[in-house]
């Protein structure tokens, strides 16, 4: 089963990530699938060198969290937040197959980010659900 996204869909994804997340102060925003593939990356000019490893680890992190959810009797945990001294990572589930990763500093409030993430997820679902896997 392969997923193919065309120029139009990727442009729409980039636009939504930039407008809703980068423009409010997030450093980097990535859409990945739950197998660890990168679908889109947008950043504010700060370079995160190893995005492929980050995506693989984020997907694994989310997978582990879902297994933990089942152990405690939950269907899922839909978000994950790692707080650092200056850098933070916020991971959200978009749907069964996709995750949204945001990297941001303490200058951006977590509440505001979460509000904008919810808006982006609505946008992304509109784009991704319309684009079913190729086979």
């Amino acid at each position: 089963m392969n997923l193919m996204l065309g120029q139009k869909e990727l442009d729409r994804i980039h636009h939504s990530l930039k407008k809703n997340l980068i423009d409010i102060g997030a450093q980097s925003s990535m859409l990945i699938d739950t197998a660890g593939n990168i679908i889109a990356v947008v950043n504010n000019g700060s370079d995160i060198r190893d995005v492929y490893s980050l995506a693989a680890l984020a997907a694994a992190n989310f997978g582990a969290m879902n297994s933990m959810a089942k152990i405690v009797g939950e269907d899922e945990f839909s978000l994950l937040f790692h707080k650092g001294r200056t850098e933070n990572i916020h991971l959200s589930k978009v749907n069964r197959d996709f995750l949204l990763i945001n990297i941001f500093t303490n200058q951006l409030s977590l509440g505001f980010l979460r509000m904008k993430v919810a808006e982006v997820i609505k946008d992304l679902l509109g784009i991704l659900v319309a684009k079913k896997p190729a086979n």
Partner: protein
Amino acid sequence: MAFINLKEKIIQAKIVYYGPGRCGKTTNLEYIFSQCRGQVQSEMVSVKTDGDRTLFFDFFPFDMGKINEYDVKIQLYTVPGQVKYNSTRRLVLKGVDGLVFVADSASDRRASNVNSLENLQENLALYGRDICSIPLVMQYNKRDLAQQGTEVLELETLEEDLNRRLKAPFFEASAVEGLNIVPTLKKIVSSTMAALEEELR
């Protein structure tokens, strides 16, 4: 599930090294990493236990060049071999495009090899996948043990136990010595790329 980015013309494909505990999956990746440094833009990521056993996976991405104007990025993963980590093995298998099954040639690991291959098929079935429909290469690792006086399984025995039905291409290898590690990789990459090319048509 390979991801194909039409805008940036990138194909991302996932190859997983599977096999029983201590069969040499991580050593395979370490050797490849040391030999292909020029094609790897990042460090090798290893999620390990304190005892240096793989807890989640080892991982690194590397550039394979181009197919039909598309940049091909291969993501190499291992799984934890220990029986108790089955749930993490399952997670790593998600979206796999190519498989290397690393078997341990030591005679006393015969049952572990068979059990691990069965476990692979069960885990693939959970994703609705059949091992016969995924590019697969068999690697009979630790062939060097014979020189150290350890009893090893005959090639025919390994083939009979593991590859009689699958008939996958196989290599006799030694990950610690680097014997047939790169040829194993080349074979699985070419099989995976051929399968993806077929799907792209």
